[in-house]
């Protein structure tokens, strides 16, 4: 084995490098310049993202434990961009609140480690790598959820997340042992999955663990509480990056490793998709806190993702990735606005947004676009994402499911419009007064808006995705 082949792990290496750089920087930066650490972290991550965009050859490492293809490479870049946007959006918060407590570096380290975990999870070629990736992504983020140590809610959210996550990974591992028992290996390539009861049992338990991470019903209960308690950027990370990556991994595993169980998991996805959409939407209707609101909305979105899985082919794969990509931008847009307003005023309730358009028109418009994209209103990207998912499901004849999904789109439109209503329709004497966003926040929001507006209309992107998504079957 040639060491240069380790360069296949370029994403991970660069990320690790900037993580270490942050630690070193922490040591050398004086007390006064702590705030600059935030800028440093963001700049470093931007460099990492830029490097990540360079092309990468496909290949496997460690005898199949680690795999990378064009598709995983692409998806890692999507995650990178997502995290970059997220960091830009939380830059102000970090500088103003966190850096004072000397905790800025930790934030970056934890986020980076978690992302590193996700990368390994995506590229995992056996269950061990997968498990390590999973835990590496979960544990740091748990620490981040409980980050605001002076707030009880933050700790509560942290404890809820770590306990639930442990339960989930325990269940998942138990499932893995079953599959290990029947298939004789933990390497995906060597495992021979057959549809016997023990394997199915194992698969279902394993699935529960992954479903926990994507917050599919009925494994979603932690979501809202954790999002509410966590700092906004962390909630945003959980709902966008972590969920997106987990969905991607779920798809890879279902399409490749668990392909022999197709007849089982198709039905499972069918049911879970419906359950998730309905539960997410029905809970979202009544939420007043925007973070909880977005939590349930993101649960419902996860339900839609499953529709794409039902067509077990290139089309399905493409639509899922495409949707996740759009979802990253849309949800980050929404979270970004919530964060901007929360930073400026500390307000997080829908009612506080009354009359926002008249005082802060641009922020309201960003929120409007993000919500429309989440709801799937053309011509913003979300529409295309959803429509293609529905096409994927319909291509295999699941018209009833598509119909119910669109009914759910309508329900979701209702609560998205509730926010629009507060911002645009209402007038309020106590409306949030005008404030100027910081450049970083602006940049973060502008990138999301560009994404929301262009991804859908720019068709070659989809076509490119379609081309590369074929490599999913090579995994």
């Amino acid at each position: 084995m040639d060491f240069s082949s380790l360069l296949l792990m370029r994403h991970e290496f660069v990320l690790l490098a900037i993580l270490l750089l942050m630690i070193v920087a922490e040591i050398f930066v004086s007390e006064k310049n702590k705030k600059n650490l935030v800028n440093l972290g963001i700049v470093l991550f931007a460099i990492h993202t830029a490097i990540g965009l360079l092309p990468l050859t496909e290949g496997t490492l460690f005898g199949g434990m680690y795999k990378t293809t064009v598709l995983t490479h692409f998806f890692k870049s999507v995650l990178n961009i997502g995290v970059l946007i997220l960091l830009l959006q939380s830059g102000d918060w970090l500088r103003d609140k966190v850096a004072n407590q000397n905790k800025a570096t930790e934030f970056f380290m934890l986020i980076f480690s978690s992302l590193l975990g996700l990368f390994y999870m995506i590229s995992a070629g056996d269950f061990l790598m997968f498990y390590i990736g999973l835990e590496l992504s979960t544990l740091p983020i748990t620490a981040l959820v409980a980050y605001e140590s002076l707030k009880q809610k933050s700790s509560e959210a942290g404890i809820k997340l770590i306990l639930s996550a442990a339960l989930a990974s325990g269940t998942s591992l138990f499932g893995i042992t079953m599959m290990y028992a029947t298939s004789g290996s933990l390497y995906f390539d060597l495992m021979t999955i057959t549809a016997d009861n023990l394997t199915i049992l194992g698969f279902l338990m394993f699935f529960a663990g992954l479903a926990f991470k994507i917050s599919l019903a009925p494994f979603h209960f932690w979501t809202a509480d954790v999002y509410e308690g966590a700092p906004i950027s962390v909630a945003s990370y959980l709902s966008v990056i972590s969920k997106g990556a987990a969905a991607f991994v779920l798809m890879i595993l279902l399409f490749t490793l668990f392909r022999p169980l197709e007849s089982i998991w198709i039905n499972l996805m069918y049911v879970i998709a419906l359950l998730t959409m309905f539960i997410g939407n029905l809970f979202a209707i009544r939420q007043q806190n925007l973070k909880r609101f977005l939590a349930f909305s993101s649960i419902a979105q996860a339900g839609f993702i499953l529709l794409g899985l039902l067509s077990v082919d290139q089309l399905g794969a493409t639509t899922v990735i495409y949707f996740v990509m759009i979802y990253v931008f849309s949800n980050l847009g929404a979270f970004g606005v919530v964060q901007a307003i929360s930073n400026a005023t500390g307000k997080e309730e829908i009612g506080d947004y009354d009359g926002l358009y008249r005082t802060n028109p641009l922020l309201s418009l960003v929120m409007l676009l993000a919500l429309f994209s989440l709801a799937g209103i053309p011509p913003v990207a979300g529409f295309f994402g959803k429509f293609f998912l529905f096409m994927a499901a319909a291509s295999k004849g699941y018209y009833l499911l598509v119909f119910l999904a669109v009914v759910n789109v309508t329900i979701s439109l209702y609560y998205y419009l509730l926010v629009v209503r507060a911002m645009f329709l209402r007038k309020s004497d106590t409306a949030i007064p005008y404030f100027k966003s910081k450049p970083m926040m602006k940049l973060g929001l502008i990138i999301t808006v560009v994404g929301i507006l262009s991804i859908g209309l720019y068709a070659p992107l989809y076509d490119y995705l379609f081309e590369i998504s074929n490599s999913i079957f090579k995994l």
Binding site: P379, F383, V402, V406, V407, Y414, L425
Partner: protein, 497 residues
Amino acid sequence: MDILSLFVIVPVLTVLILVFAKDLKQARTIALIGGLVQLGMAVNLLFEYFKERALVPTSESPMLFVKDYIWFENFNIHYTIGVDGISVAMLILTSIVVLAGVFISWKIKDLPKEFFVSLIVLATGVYGFFISIDLFTMFIFYEIAVIPMYLLIGIWGSGPREYSAMKLTLMLMGASALLLVGILGIYFNSNADGGALTFNILEIAKVNIPFEAQKLFFPLTFIGFAVLGALFPFHTWSPDGHASAPTAVSMLHAGVLMKLGGYGIFRVAMYLLPLGAIDWSWFFIILAVIGVVYGALAAIRQNDLKYINAYSSVSHLGMVLVALLMLNKTAWNGAILQSLSHGFMTALFFALIGMIYERTHTRDIQKLGGLLKVLPFISAVYIIGGMASLGLPGFSGFVAEMNIFVGAFQHQDLFHRVATIATISAIVVTAVYILRVVGIMLMGPIKNEEFNDLPPSTWFERYGLYLLLIPIIGMGMAPLWLSDMILDSLTPFIARF
């Protein structure tokens, strides 16, 4: 030059320029110029169409000015546009109503820029819908047309505006759930004859989609569109929506947006799924006829002008649906003429109602009276509109209704006969509710001292009204060129049945 895409590009440009408007004056000037350009384009298109059609007969190419740009290659989604006589007529309707809407909104106070932006975004959707040949593009434009309604009613509306706006949006979006399934169903059956999957209407029309699929997807597509066309019992968004909407929005909505329903049914549901249409027509005829009679009867007992007009729309558009389901050229011609005629008429009514409301601050006819004396121009136009609405010869409504009735009468079986006669009976009920309003509101003694000196109509209001009156009378007096143009365009449709 792609003269059809301009119908999308010009409004979009108008919107982009509008964003930089500073105050009401600038905003309305920009909107007005945009509207005028659109009207000019529509009229120009009409002449171009006639020129081109003289060269290329319908049998050779049902659509003219077809332009095709690949969009999503993998799905075979294209941005394909083209027009036939029906869409040309609809485009003219749209451009006139939009322009009239701008005139009527001349003095909008709250957030003028945003108002015109939303209005023109809506118009963009409508234009795009009428020129699309690709189902996917069409669906996108459909939703673009619907969504601004939420803001338009919600921000600038009156009464229970939030409730109405939400109800309207959700019902229409809920309907698009059915529609989407229908469209997907059509798409995935578009390779029934072995070709590639396609969204292109003209291509699909050449394919014989299996009967079972047609039977399944026709009702979905039909209802999906028909909710917008106020099919009983899915019409309830309409009265509330109209009642709360600001004037120009009601005009555009009832005048143009609701036409998307009938047009979509015709262009998509019936053209692509003819066997489904034949199989299901009895069922939807029942609903549509109920709508016709029921809308008219419900209108008799309303006191709010906007409700009266909304129910009257239910009745009139019910006729469109009945006519479409009669599956012959004459009735279809009537349906399309009725769409146009209703578009102009109802826009006219809403404009007038807006003007009356602005002056008297009430829409309750029981509180109004003797307006003919104080507002002679507005009242006279109202009476003319009323006459047009009840199908008086010389106005567009008559032309349309006669085609519908004659067409509907082509069926000899008892069921169709009963449906036809029930539909025709609505003309009597229509007379009752129109004259009721005229009698109570326009005639009679003035009921309120304050109404003795109401401001007379202003120039922009008059322009708006003239703009709508001209086509109503024009269609009514000389229908031949229009109806022949439409009849000609119906040939490919009738060939499918």
